[in-house]
């Protein structure tokens, strides 16, 4: 089905920078795609601006953040609101408030790429409150992941291996020289750093020894420290290298393995390029090569390479991801500018949970599978119910919100309303009969509802 010259079939040129051509112009479809993948979609105003300004300033803004949030408020104002919420949380911690804080960021952040990556790392270093049972530790982990969203992998790994929530989740706490627990060591090698098949059982045992010594020093908030007495600092052989390795040495040894960059390149590929199929080794190898920097894995380089690539901006790239619940729901909120009064954020979070992405509660150590796995019987129903909620009276928006929005844009006929919302929400053209049904809804709220509840609406 794909054209022979699709970058997916041309690993050598796939990661070269995109330049607009008459065949591949910088247009609404490309800008909307950029924002759907590297953020949570864009408002019509953002799309118009980016089309006019061209790729360089647009991509730069995606990478480094906007001066204003999608609601038009200054980024300093956003930061100060978040700060106030966090301070209030510290006085009265609860899991509801941790989740609400994140949902607030998802909706209002002037730097949505940061949130996309924080979500990706939340699935990569999947840690669940169900076992950790500490709202403070979950918030701290979330802040750490955000702070290092484009750091080198050695920084991220080290931060996570010393993270109280992670140490509780994978039984690092209580792992001693006398009785090392292999749980954290195994998942570090398999899920975080290298991937299955790139280490041996002996590496798990030896890594577990290097990760010993952590104990809990406080329950509320949860705090853990590594004590020299319980830590095994004897000689070990890990991934072929021998020495009296400690935790930070294991990280250093792991990130310079050839598999390390490839493992993370695959994570970035699933996040930004396609998650409906596994990429070939040939396609990943050049990207991984670019990410190998000074014996480490350079995440920022990987993200930037992808977001500038011919691959990313090709027609073939569109529709190759299944929108996660957050991508679908937050994207719809941003496209529909449901900011004043804001959409009911705690209900929005409940909808994410019903669609299968309960924040801070990944389904297991391997995080959310993503791709077509998002769509089961009950989660498909939940997506349709979300669409009905957002466009109905329960979402807390002003009466006539959708009509006013469409009118402001000059979308006054059913066709114009369809085209306007579809350009922002859909990655692929809608099936003609489904399209007719959407247009038949006539009023803007109904059009958005049917767009969101169509199969095409699930593709990113």
């Amino acid at each position: 089905m794909r054209k022979a010259r699709s970058p997916f079939d041309d690993p050598r040129s796939a990661w070269e920078p995109y330049r607009p051509t008459p065949e591949e112009p910088w247009n609404v479809a490309r800008v909307a795609h950029l924002h759907r993948r590297a953020g949570f979609a864009a408002t019509w105003g953002q799309v118009e601006r980016d089309v006019a300004e061209g790729p360089e300033p647009s991509i730069r803004r995606v990478l480094d953040g906007e001066a204003r949030g999608p609601d038009g408020s200054e980024s300093s104002e956003f930061e100060s609101i978040v700060d106030t919420m966090e301070q209030s949380f510290r006085r009265r911690p609860s899991m509801e408030r941790v989740s609400l804080l994140w949902v607030y960021r998802l909706v209002f952040s002037p730097h949505p790429l940061e949130e996309v990556m924080t979500l990706a790392w939340h699935s990569h270093y999947a840690t669940s409150q169900a076992k950790v049972q500490s709202p403070e530790a979950m918030l701290d982990q979330n802040r750490t992941l955000r702070a290092h969203w484009r750091a080198r992998m050695s920084v991220l790994h080290s931060a996570m291996l010393s993270d109280a929530a992670m140490l509780s989740w994978l039984d690092g706490i209580g792992s001693t020289k006398a009785a090392p627990n292999e749980n954290l060591a195994r998942e570090f090698l398999e899920l975080f750093a290298l991937g299955a098949g790139n280490y041996a059982e002996a590496d798990v045992r030896e890594t577990a020894r290097a990760f010993t010594g952590w104990s809990r020093v406080d329950y509320s908030p949860l705090r853990a420290v590594q004590e020299a007495g319980d830590m095994d600092d004897g000689p070990k052989t890990i991934l072929g290298e021998s020495g009296a390795w400690r935790q930070e040495d294991v990280v250093r040894i792991a990130v310079r393995r050839p598999a390390a960059a490839e493992h993370i390149a695959r994570r970035l590929y699933r996040t930004f390029v396609a998650d409906v199929e596994e990429p070939s080794r040939e396609l990943i190898a050049p990207l991984a090569d670019l990410m190998r920097v000074e014996g480490d894995v350079d995440v920022a380089k990987g993200i930037e390479t992808i977001l500038r690539s011919r691959m990313f901006h090709s027609d073939a790239c569109r529709g190759r991801c299944i929108k996660s619940p957050a991508t679908l729901a937050v994207g719809a909120v941003r496209v529909c500018e449901a900011f004043r009064p804001p959409v009911n954020l705690s209900e929005l979070e409940n909808h994410l949970a019903r669609m299968g992405q309960r924040l801070f509660h990944p389904p297991g150590v391997a995080g959310w599978r993503g791709g077509i796995g998002w769509l089961g019987d009950s989660t498909v129903v939940a997506r349709a119910n979300f669409a009905a909620w957002l466009t109905g009276p329960g979402a807390g928006l002003a009466a006539g919100h959708f009509r006013d929005l469409a009118d402001r844009r000059g979308w006054t006929t059913p066709e114009a309303r369809f085209e306007g919302f579809a350009a922002l929400l859909l990655a692929t053209p809608l099936d003609p009969e489904a399209r007719a049904r959407v247009i038949a809804a006539d009023d803007p709220a109904g059009i958005v509802r049917r767009l969101l509840a169509s199969p095409e609406g699930q593709l990113g």
Binding site: N181, E187, G319, L375, D377, V380, A388, E433, A434
Partner: protein, 386 residues
């Protein structure tokens, strides 16, 4: 807003499948065919540590009555399975299954060096290995290796470890209410194939959800979103099996078994709920000719202490009975009777059958898959299925 059905009918799409049938369609049909022949396992977890000695009662043993002055079930009430043990009479709804030879009791199921923490012992039972917690459950690993064994969890809690795998993501619903389309909600279905594998896969999932809702009839619409009691959850399982939800493993739980105090009536009520629910599930499936394909497995994370405590309750114990029910189950007593004369240092009877051996039998003899990659090499308990 028009109903979803009317909507479809109007647009003339209800029966219009694209001219050329794409290959995935044929594969999906074949998979559906295979499903109809596949066996189904319904796992019922008794959460909190079920008092096994008051479930399968050692009525013939003096030590039982001596240690349970207020809690012992009197011998004239016990539903005798043989001259030494019998079912608590609160389980009377399961007696017909025993009489038909469709109920197996595996006695004293446990593991060496028993862990008496709820969380840790539950993680051991669900993970399928004693010792430190595994990241995946035994049924999750089964589904990783055999995608047809995908599990569906029905219950209010987190998806249990038991059904979680690395690749296999179990579906989880609190109840049928999770399959309820809100009045204003609709699925904008497309019947044909676009030729794009991703879009066609999404369309297939949409049609699948729509079909399941239709097969469930009004039940999902009427279901309440509140936490549903055990009977309603088993009724949801029954409806999902009848509607062919494509799951072959169902997992649900009955909570409240942590009976440290005044347990007599609490525990009897729980057992009555269990018996009524399981008997009702199988009776409902029998009407539809589906009972033969279904086996129910009942387990708990541990049993309870032989000696009752000073509060009319029992404390955390070790091994306990696993009960299997269904027409495909070979009825009878398996494993050694609990030897109340030989207790461990905590005061619990010793385990006689390793829980992994029961799992191995379920995997090999009921679900038809090799248990070794899932549980390690274990001798499957013989004779549990006919």
């Amino acid at each position: 807003m028009r109903s979803r059905r009317a909507f479809l009918k109007e647009s003339g799409l209800a029966c219009a499948v694209g001219g050329t049938v794409p290959s995935f369609w044929g594969r999906a049909a074949a998979a559906a065919e295979a499903r109809r022949d596949g066996t189904i396992l319904v796992v019922v977890e008794l959460t909190g540590g079920n008092d096994g000695l008051n479930t399968v009662v050692p009525h013939g043993d003096d030590a039982y009555r001596k240690n349970r002055p207020t809690l012992a079930v009197s011998p004239d009430k016990v539903l005798k399975l043989d001259d030494r043990v019998g079912l608590n009479d609160a389980l009377k709804d399961l007696l017909p299954s025993w009489e038909r030879g469709e109920l197996a009791v595996v006695q004293q199921v446990g593991y060496p060096d028993p862990n008496r923490s709820h969380f840790e012992s539950m993680a051991i039972w669900q993970g399928g290995r004693p010792g430190p917690a595994l990241p995946t459950g035994w049924l999750g690993r089964a589904a990783d290796a055999h995608p047809a064994l995908a599990a569906l969890h029905v219950g209010p809690a987190e998806t249990p470890l038991g059904v979680r795998g690395i690749r296999a993501v179990p579906r989880s619903i609190a109840g049928l209410a999770d399959l309820r389309l809100e009045p204003e909600a609709e699925l904008n279905l497309t019947m044909g194939a676009a030729g794009d594998p991703a879009l066609d896969a999404v369309r297939a999932r949409f049609r699948g959800a729509d079909g399941l809702i239709a097969r469930l009839g009004g039940l999902a619409r009427e279901a309440k979103p509140a936490e549903e009691p055990f009977e309603t959850r088993l009724e949801a399982v029954r409806r999902l099996i009848v509607a062919d939800s494509s799951a072959r493993v169902y997992y649900t739980s009955l909570d409240g078994f942590d009976t440290h105090a005044a347990q007599l009536y609490t525990h009897r009520n729980l057992l009555a709920t269990l018996g009524k629910g399981v008997a009702g599930l199988l009776a409902g499936l029998r009407e539809r000719g589906l009972a033969e394909r279904t086996a129910v497995m009942i387990f708990s994370e541990f049993g309870r202490r032989l000696k009752e405590n000073g509060s009319g309750g029992t404390d955390h114990g070790a091994a306990g009975p696993v009960v299997l029910v269904g027409p495909g189950v070979k009825g009878g007593l398996h494993g050694p009777h609990p030897d109340l004369g030989r207790l461990d240092e905590a005061g619990d009877p010793l385990f006689g059958v390793d829980f992994r051996d029961v799992y191995a039998a379920v995997l090999r003899d009921w679900l038809g898959v090799d248990p070794a990659p899932i549980l390690g090499e274990r001798p499957a308990t013989p004779g549990l299925f006919s």
